[in-house]
Every structure is written in C-alpha cells, then in structure tokens.
Symmetry: C2
Subunit: 234 residues, 2 copies
C-alpha cells in the first residue's frame, strides 16, 4: 500500500498527485539525414509503436539530471559530447490513457558516433529519419516542437557544432545547416560568415582531404554561446 512519510503534505497535495516523466528528442545527422532516436514500445498502451525514449524522474534528481541520465542510458553517450536543453512540458489530461502523466521534454543534438544505441531496457531502439513518422502518445507534436527549436537555434547560436565530431571542416558544418534546414547554402559566403563570426569556430592548424579537391582546414568549437551576426535561414 502507499505510505507517505511526510504527513504535512497529505492535506494539501494528496489529491493533486501526478506522474512526471522526462522524454528525449535525440537528434543526430546520419547518412546525410536528420535522424531521431526512437524506442519500440513493448507494452500497452501503444504496444508495437515507436516512441521517444524517456522515463520517470527519480526522487533525488533534478529534471536536467534525469534527462542526462536517460541520455546516457539510451545512447551510452556523455551529455557533454553534444548539447542537451529543456524543450517544453506537455500535460494534456488525455495524453496517456493510464492516467495523468506530465512529461518534461528535452532536446539533444548529438554527433554521429559509432555507439550502437547501447542496451537501454533491452527494448528495440533505432535511429529514424525525421518526417512522416507516426509516434505513440503526443510524441509527434513533441518531435515537431524539437525540430523547430533545433532549426531556430542554428540561426543565432553555435549549436550546429553539436552535430559535429570534435574536429570538423567548414563543409561538414555547412552540411549540418543544409540538412537541418533542408536548403542549399552558398559555400563561399558560408565559409566567410562562420570563419569571421567571433569565437564560433577555431582553426586547429591541421587539414584533411575528405574527398577530392583541395584539402580543408580542420576546426573545433569556439567558446561563443551566441552568434554575432546570426546565420539566417534563406
């Protein structure tokens, strides 16, 4: 039976209890496509359907910690390798048929690492290209909000680098923008803009030949948190 340790809260709160979960929109770029990590549900409701990974918050952890823990559990990845931020909270009364569940959604932008989507809960997990997905619960809406947030953030923050490995070329960074925004950008103007924006990216001194053509310089993330001037979507 349910036992409550703090009698003081019974009077005020007993009837207002709610389940709180954290759900993750994990985005990465694989095979030149923006992809999201989904879990195939093994149990009802929505058994067999794909859903965003997530879980209940623990009693002793902050929301950000819960999101970071879920990220580690689902990908085996350290959150510092990419970017993790709170997205929004969803609490429509009917969103979970089992009862009132409020979920705090987080958005993560990750590099395409070889990690094979480690163990998780032995449930099936895989990356899916975004677009035309039908997800469980209200996860379509959460994913759409996450995509829009990601697209908007590339404009005025340096977060595009979160999709890149530690060292990358300007062309690879441009491919991130082109994939997320579904546009083409002028390589010459893009190069000038990102290399002239203060503290966005820093040259490592090395260079590589990725395909054919002249070798490209390698860069790493700079310390900037905002982009001045911003890179606007065409």
């Amino acid at each position: 039976m349910l036992t409550i340790k703090r009698p003081a809260i019974i009077v005020n709160m007993t009837l207002k209890m709610t389940s709180v979960t954290v759900d993750l929109v994990l985005l990465t770029i694989r095979q030149d496509a923006l992809q999201v990590l989904l879990i195939r549900r093994g149990i009802e409701p929505f058994a067999g359907q794909w859903a965003l990974p997530g879980g209940f918050i623990h009693d002793d952890e902050d929301l950000d910690e819960a999101a970071a823990r879920e990220l580690r559990e689902e990908t085996g990845l350290d959150p510092s390798a990419g970017h993790l931020e709170q997205l929004a909270t969803y609490g429509c009364p009917g969103r979970d048929p089992r009862g009132r569940v409020v979920t705090v959604a987080y958005l993560a932008l990750l590099p395409d690492l070889p990690s094979p989507v480690a163990g998780s809960d032995a449930a099936q997990a895989r990356w899916w290209p975004v677009g035309d997905l039908r997800l469980a619960f209200d996860h379509d809406r959460i994913l759409a909000d996450g995509l829009e947030r990601a697209r908007a953030k590339l404009e005025y923050t340096p977060l595009a680098t979160a999709f890149c490995p530690a060292e990358f070329t300007v062309a690879e960074l441009r491919a991130v923008y082109e994939t997320v925004w579904r546009t083409r950008l002028d390589p010459r103007n893009f190069h000038r803009k990102v290399t002239s924006a203060e503290n966005f990216i820093e040259a490592t001194g090395h260079s590589v030949t990725r395909d054919r053509g002249r070798p490209a310089q390698l860069f790493r993330r700079g310390p900037a948190t905002l982009l001045h001037p911003p890179l606007l979507r065409p």
Copy 2:
C-alpha cells in the same frame, strides 16, 4: 484515505508520484517601470515572503488551461488581452521543503489595466518593480528566466504590443521597448522601423495628443507573429 480507480497504474507509478503546479510570471508596465505581480505567502514555508502566483493543476485541464485559469483568478483578466506562453519547468528536488513539487512556469505580458488585482485567495497581492526582489522558493530564478525571455522576444516578435492597450501610439510602443530593455531608442528611427515592418502595427486613422506637441497617430496590433526585420537590442 487515498483511493485509486485505475489498478493498472499502481504497479508502475505509485512510487513516482509528484505534485505539479503552475506558476505565473505576470509582467506589465506601470508608472514607466516593468512590474511583476507577486503574492504574499500566508502560510509556511516562506510565510510572509513574496512569491509568484500559482497553484496546482486540476485533473481535467491542460497545462495551458491551468495557466489561463490562474491568470484569470489572480488578475480577473482574460488571457487574450495580453500574451501567455509556457516559460520552463523547474523540478529541483529541494525547491519545496514539503516534498517533490515540479512547477511549470508561464510567462504573461499584460497591458496596464485598471484591474485592482482581484480577490485571488484573499491573500495579499500587488505589483512590484522587477529588480532587487528576494522571492520564496526558486522564484528569483524563474523571474530572471522570464525577464530574459521577455527581453529576447521583443526583438523578433511583435509581443511588445501585448504590454499596450488596444490602441496606442508609436511613442507608447517605444516606451515599452525602452522600459523592458532599459535603454533609450532614437524616436525617429524607431518610428520608421515599426511602421515599415510588415503587419506589425496598423494605423487606426485616429490620432490623439497625449502630452504637448503634435498629435500622434493611433495604431493597433497587426497580424504578424514574427518581426521582419527584427528590432535588435542596442
């Protein structure tokens, strides 16, 4: 005693129950100052201290509905008169000494209406100029996040008009920007920018003399949801 109607959820969820509240950052401009509505707490914890208004979500309402209901309860105001949006969610384990409480914060921008901060829960309520406030719980942090969100949104959305009455002059709109951003803006350039931005504000055809000087045209909000080009903070 607590009775649970849906046995299915006991196994999974009983130990993960949490209280969920909605807190409001209500901002308005009064007496040429940006002000926030605060409630004086009558009971512990933090009795006697000032806090953001808020309350528990009801079983049958969405989070947005709960925020709109709280807004009506605290101000007697219809949410459509201003602007109401979700801000962020805060769930640090120690933020409420009574137990685990996750709060979904909302941000509202309101015109300075004569409404005398109606009844609420008979608790003391009043507007305070922002800055140098020491609030209960983690409400200092929530207020700071709300202020930053409001300042940022004025740049690239037409939300400054949410602080204005239905009809307003360009000078009054400029005063909103100057108050929220704590800067001075050139009246001539400001006038040109806001009148040339598509669908930002629309002339009503009327004009008024507010103080001395030439009468000013009256405008109302236009249908734009984004500002092109944006009005950047100096």
